[in-house]
């Protein structure tokens, strides 16, 4: 399968999200990278699911945005970083969203809170009326 996004010269993939099918494109690219980096099946599923939740958030709430998928190296550690940026309505009550309190027609309200539990690092910056940026990282488990 050819990657749906283009790999840039920093080794990241950038995928524009502006239609429903882009959620699948992001998911597939993340799955491919996680498998290539030899994450175990739990790691692959966690990353792919997180990618799905966050790209759906962009599509449902902002209608467009960008996903950036990058490989991380820190000494012997290997990981994946996912960044989602949109200029949509932003989140008025971030604490409530992170607690899983928002449930909309398209989500259980578990999108952000659930995603946070699947990854090692989770950062969110949201300004009402300006947009939202979410960056997550997951490191491969070494046995």
């Amino acid at each position: 399968m050819s990657p749906p996004g283009n790999q840039d010269d920093t080794g990241s993939w950038e995928i524009r999200i502006d239609k429903e099918a882009d959620i699948v494109a992001v998911r597939q690219q993340v799955r491919e990278l996680a498998k290539e980096l030899r994450f175990d099946q739990f790691g692959v599923a966690a990353l792919t699911t997180a990618a799905s939740e966050l790209s759906r958030n962009v599509w449902v709430h902002a209608q467009k945005g960008v996903a950036r998928i990058s490989m991380l190296r820190n000494g012997n550690r290997v990981g994946v970083e996912l960044e989602f940026v949109d200029h949509g309505p932003g989140i008025a009550d971030l604490d409530r969203a992170l607690a899983g309190g928002y449930s909309t027609a398209k989500s259980l309200g578990l999108g952000l809170s659930g995603t946070r539990r699947l990854v090692d690092e989770f950062n969110i910056d949201s300004q009402p009326g300006r947009g939202t940026k979410v960056v997550i990282r997951k490191w491969k488990k070494e046995y």
Partner: protein, 124 residues
């Protein structure tokens, strides 16, 4: 994507839906309606949804599956979700989604057995 992308087969009084494709939201939405219409058309007593091919089940798909089972139940049809992969089960529970009240079985074979017991009235 067009409707009807997830094949729904009839085996006796049971409907078997096997999800073999990467799920777009629109496919998910049409699948729910297709299944309910098939139940009405066939008078099926049981519904088995085989998700063994799914590597990813996010909260949207999980809720669709759970809601489909609830809707089928309202029509009088019991649903069993079969073949959930270990990583999918782990991911859903870590996210805080427990699929409460949903019948599940390890494999298609066990799902069919569970359904047979249910229609004999030996389970619930």
């Amino acid at each position: 994507m067009a409707a009807g992308q997830i094949p729904i087969l009839r085996i006796g009084t049971t409907l078997l839906a096997t999800i073999q494709i990467e799920l777009h939201d629109t496919v998910v939405d049409s699948f729910q309606n297709d299944v309910l219409e098939e139940i009405e058309k066939t008078g099926a007593k049981g519904l088995i949804v085989d998700i063994s091919a799914l590597e990813t089940v996010d909260s949207y798909v999980a809720r669709m599956l759970a809601n489909t089972a609830k809707m089928a139940k309202l029509m009088g049809t019991e649903t069993v979700i079969v073949g959930m992969r270990p990583a999918v089960a782990a991911t859903l529970v870590r996210m805080g989604y427990f699929m409460e009240g949903i019948n599940t079985a390890l494999s298609l074979e066990e799902g069919l057995q569970l359904q047979a017991r249910q229609s004999n009235g030996t389970v619930e």
